[in-house]
Symmetry: C2
Subunit: 391 residues, 2 copies
Amino acid sequence: MSDAGEVEGVDAAVIGEKVAAAREAVAAGDADAWLSVGRETDVSPEPCFPYLLGFDVVWPTAVVVAPDSSAVVLGRHDAPTARDLGVHDVRAYDESIAEPLREVLDEMNAERVALNYDRDDVVADGLSHGLFLQLREYLPDREFTSASDLIRRLRGVKSDTEYERVRAAATETEELLQTATATWTPETTEREFADFLHERMTERGLDSAWAWDYCPTVHMGDREVGHTLPADHTVDEGELLHVDFGIRRDGYASDIQRLWVRGEASDGLRTAFRDVRAAIDTGHDALGPGAVGHEVDAAAREEPTSRGWPAFEHAFGHQVGRAAHDGGTLLGPEWERYGEAPRHEVRPGEVYTMELGVATEWGYVGQEEMVRITETGTEWVVPPQTELRTL
Amino acid sequence: MSDAGEVEGVDAAVIGEKVAAAREAVAAGDADAWLSVGRETDVSPEPCFPYLLGFDVVWPTAVVVAPDSSAVVLGRHDAPTARDLGVHDVRAYDESIAEPLREVLDEMNAERVALNYDRDDVVADGLSHGLFLQLREYLPDREFTSASDLIRRLRGVKSDTEYERVRAAATETEELLQTATATWTPETTEREFADFLHERMTERGLDSAWAWDYCPTVHMGDREVGHTLPADHTVDEGELLHVDFGIRRDGYASDIQRLWVRGEASDGLRTAFRDVRAAIDTGHDALGPGAVGHEVDAAAREEPTSRGWPAFEHAFGHQVGRAAHDGGTLLGPEWERYGEAPRHEVRPGEVYTMELGVATEWGYVGQEEMVRITETGTEWVVPPQTELRTL
């Protein structure tokens, strides 16, 4: 390793930006310090560690962020990597994390400590129940509170480096889809179309934005839509090719849907495309800084049902970042399974999908676009699909 | 998808074996049912889900195993995949998991419910604190207990299919190392050696057993050992090449260390190799069904210190399965950071590493072997390294 404060393979640029943002967020919040704890992170990842640490740890490891400082308490073996990162005060231990962790919190005068638990938001819920019980024992006098709001801000609001990566991932996703449709023939099956994309991704060293086998999801013609694997279907004349696809490059994801028709689209198909497009546009009009998640969802959702389509069964939009489903504020209905996620306000710097679809006899008319929230409105991450493309 | 009860990409063979074993383990334990809960598992994996379900889920999902039956409660979108798996009674929901989950537990007469939390064992601690709080609210009248013992048994004791995969992974790891050393030259750097292995793994579609950048860990000559990345070092005459390496194929991992000397080994190096080998052999003699983890560790650990070497700073052995560090019983000292893990008894069917090392002026003399516990003793997963190999 070099002595230049850089750790090979660790994303020191992003971590520096995010830890600085975390210290500001802690200063603005009502906890004295933010404590993230994880162990064996290749088996059980702590979703905040990539922002705070950037490498896997084996022994119990704590990252503590206060308004004026930050520290990491970790096993002696991992200490050199943490020192080379050059972001945190490093405290190495041999047998137990308890005592050095108490010392760090004492030095920070941290009585009220925010922990990573949340009933609804998976990325703010990285603390296991077993580790919670351990912290309760190690820190009996501290007051614990949820770090949800802090994490929502930190993860949602993208730094410049982060947004550049999301945009690059989305741009390459579009380019891959164009390459794939350029080689499409009437004999191409869903599976072959997916295999083609997987081969290009492997060549380029790209990960899929969600589970490899289901990314891309490819639907040809009129068949059941869901978490289904590509099969032996092909596209008949007048039918749709529908693809839901995203990649992950440099640690950041994309998530878009695109539609192609083989030959001439029927009037009915054109109507369905227009109606879904209208829902996206209506949601887009309602989206911007200060908008509340479920209100954006309601505006978009009403559009197709008012035109006689069945209700859309999912949230209208989710955030994209390190993960395709990146947690935090959701543009979704106030259904119990979404909990508090749709009740938060949208912030500048967040990146959302806008997504809706209807089933038709020609195939699934699903559209999904990506937008960034600006100080005054939104901007497209990549240009939206405003017309049916032809195969 | 086919109608044959097989789910492409899902490991139905292993899941069938493991769910049957889980039902037996629940029958033998003191809980009425075992409840595993997860959501957005591509962001936050539930370590038991690969044994019980085998596919990623987005919405909150519960797998309930009772002595005579098992059920999965999951979002409607994921239900077809669960039905095709053909292992569990499938209950789909649209808005909330709460009511169907209560119904399943009522039908099973499950008052005492085992949950996946454990202070020490990461693979038995898959329940997040936020989901625990949600379960406490959804199921106010149930008694909760830890599923640790059940998971330790289920995960540790390998089915025939599982063991065959671990063995295949270990065999291929040895073969890859032989291929790499066959192309080694005195100019080969650590980084080039690691890159060679990574290229072969990519060609063969193999994952690394732990974080890609650190797997293999390659040390050439006398340099600091730790979680360090391969660098520009080469092996001088009389020095060591030390490699810590494992792969994951068909979902199962390997983890071994091998040693080569360039040219002639000095007497000091031979002595160090012999002393480490003696520790492995002493630990091996102490290992077998019914052995207690920390007693095996103590036997092995005493060997090099009695010969004047500094104390080994890690556990002597860990289990290998889906993960290289597979949790459960540990062959380790009773240090606080290991918690209860070294206090359990070794069971037939479990697979352990045996590992120890000392730093010398010629390089790190680290050895790591893999053994399976049988009804009467142990058997090697792959033949051990009993002599220094020559480059």
